[in-house]
Point group: C2
Chain length 364, copies 2
């Protein structure tokens, strides 16, 4: 590393380091244009790049932002992380990646460490209702953006949140199935503790009730209530759900709303294990609209999150200067999700035709 320091630039330009520093920090109005030009020239010729460590030591913060996701191994979070990094480059920042595995304790440690290491802001993809566990850090001035978690009543003022309207999403999903004529619709999810999942479920319920049906009559599966789990296991959850719902005693659903696409795909796989055909025997709608939803066979109907837009917004807020504790009131951005209809959802079959196909099915 042929290090060039601000001193060398200053010498080359025939000024003091202070003046070079002023140029670097956008205070070139404090000098005569000719001086500025000499400095610019010296910087270019020497290929000078300010030392981040020195800057951080002096100023306390870097240009880096921290990204805490459940797991980039999950395609949805992977796609999100990619968009975040793209947005970061555009904003002149770097991204420190952290996988919380939805473990609250890891989340907290990550946030604390990132903060102590001087990141400029943190984009936290959490599902916890309360931010109390990191409030001390927020109070100290952390610019926190929560993603996939809308603002909650008790949140510190400075916190910004970017999310879709999960209630609308759940509503759209259920409505779509109701319109197709389904009346036995299951809601499938791992633990439903998180605020976003609860919102999706409430949206689901709204649609059901509005249609004059009773949520109580619907089959439901929200297994592993107690177990926290990483996002990679989402598919396994779906698979297990399919087995439980279709081998148990309860009423069998003709359609399913899955909490996300990975769970939906796992559910499809589970149906397949049981000799059932997605779309024909059971309609399934996922959530997120990951790339693979369109690739699947049959292509999966899903609720799309405008991921690129959200990433851009989240990054803007994470690097915004006016943030931190004591600033103007924090914002909450709620984007509208979109129903993407593909082939995994169809009208329910009349019972007789169903049996006929089942026979064909077993002949395969």
């Amino acid at each position: 590393m042929a290090k060039v320091t601000i001193q060398q630039v200053a010498k080359a330009a025939g000024v003091s380091p202070s003046t070079v520093s002023n140029v670097l920090n956008g205070r070139s109005d404090r000098m005569v244009p000719a001086t500025r030009e000499r400095i610019d020239k010296a910087i270019a010729e020497l290929g000078y790049r300010p030392n981040r460590a020195a800057r951080q030591l002096r100023n306390g913060r870097t240009q880096t932002i921290g990204l805490v996701v459940p797991s980039v191994g999950n395609p949805f979070w992977g796609a999100f992380a990619r968009e975040i990094e793209v947005a970061a480059v555009a904003a002149g920042s770097s991204v420190l990646l952290c996988n919380s595995e939805r473990n609250p304790d890891r989340e907290r440690r990550y946030v604390e460490e990132l903060w102590e290491d001087g990141v400029r802001g943190i984009i936290l993809c959490t599902s916890l209702a309360s931010l109390d566990y990191i409030s001390h850090v927020i109070d100290e001035g952390l610019q926190l953006v929560t993603f996939d978690r809308p603002a909650q009543p008790g949140d510190p003022e400075s916190v910004v949140s970017v999310s879709i309207d999960n209630h609308v999403g759940g509503y759209l999903a259920a409505s779509h199935l109701l319109e197709l004529g389904h009346t036995q619709i299951a809601f499938v999810s791992g633990s439903i503790q998180s605020v976003n999942r609860a919102a999706r479920y409430r949206g689901f319920c709204s649609a059901i009730e509005e249609a004059g049906l009773s949520v109580g009559d619907m089959p439901m599966w929200t297994g592993f209530e107690a177990l926290p789990f990483g996002d990679v296991e989402a598919a396994e959850v779906g698979r297990k759900a399919a087995h439980d719902l279709f081998t148990g005693d309860g009423v069998r659903p003709t359609a399913v709303v899955a909490i996300n696409d990975m769970t939906a795909l796992g559910f499809c796989r589970g149906l397949r294990d049981l000799g059932l055909t997605v779309g024909e025997d059971v309609s399934i709608i996922g959530f997120d609209d990951i790339v693979l939803a369109d690739l699947y066979d049959p292509p999966l109907t899903s609720i799309r999150q405008p991921i690129k837009r959200m990433a851009t917004l989240a990054m803007e807020e994470a690097v915004s200067q006016d943030g931190g504790a004591g600033s103007e009131v924090g914002r909450s951005v709620l984007l509208r999700p979109q129903l993407v209809v593909r082939e995994s959802t169809r009208a329910p079959k009349p019972a007789k035709k169903r049996d006929a196909v089942n026979t064909t099915e077993s002949a395969r």
Copy 2:
């Protein structure tokens, strides 16, 4: 941030900052045990954590490592990034995430910036045959680990590489199809320029020739030779390949080796567009064995990369101290890939039976 400095710890323990620093850097043999204990106690009581920026300014390097992948939006790289981050935490490091989109110019800029920002090492997932474009950085002492790119003859000595044996992988894939009885096997890939892809192709060819067949007779599709492309578009490549191969004039393959799972899934989707059934009409084998391979319908046969093992190895090398230019000769670790047979590959159908099944098929 209630900052605690090394000075305060020193004062609390009744020693000088130098001594505390010695404890921090594992040189506690230079003092009497009692002193060490006093310092440890002071550190614990004050909740002291050394300031990274100051350390970096002084030492020149951080504990951070840079990870440059084509795109975490691609499930394979997402899964890899996750394992890398897990390994990093275990090694006391953080991960700076960069998406190159397989653009050589971006790769170079990322590597240069990461180096200048003082990362300890870089894990570079590149497909370029030559490392010349970043040799100046390597010469300056960068601890570089290339992933998915085995060591090449002209590589700088200090470079470590971790990869699967792609030749074996390609060979395993083709052999599997040959054993099932296929004789018309297509190789499907986007640009085949990269060293790993070329190796997979050569392995494929070896198996074909060994079986007494001629590679020249095989249908092949390596579209977009010239176009560099990001990994997210891999599925689109596969889909296009399916259309081209099955609507064009050439001989139709009965089996396909895809360069990776995303391309394979895209290919499956393309077959579906054309009314063909994966497994039954055409066998497909992918590469990587991403989580979704097992979830797909039909579950995709694939060549598995031992991703966790590789991530651990790559991280170990990236943080190893003995590295850098002038150290002992760099290593090249080549792991063996594994064939995972699922349902997307079957014996080719005899022509007559094929028609019968096709009829059943259209009745669905």
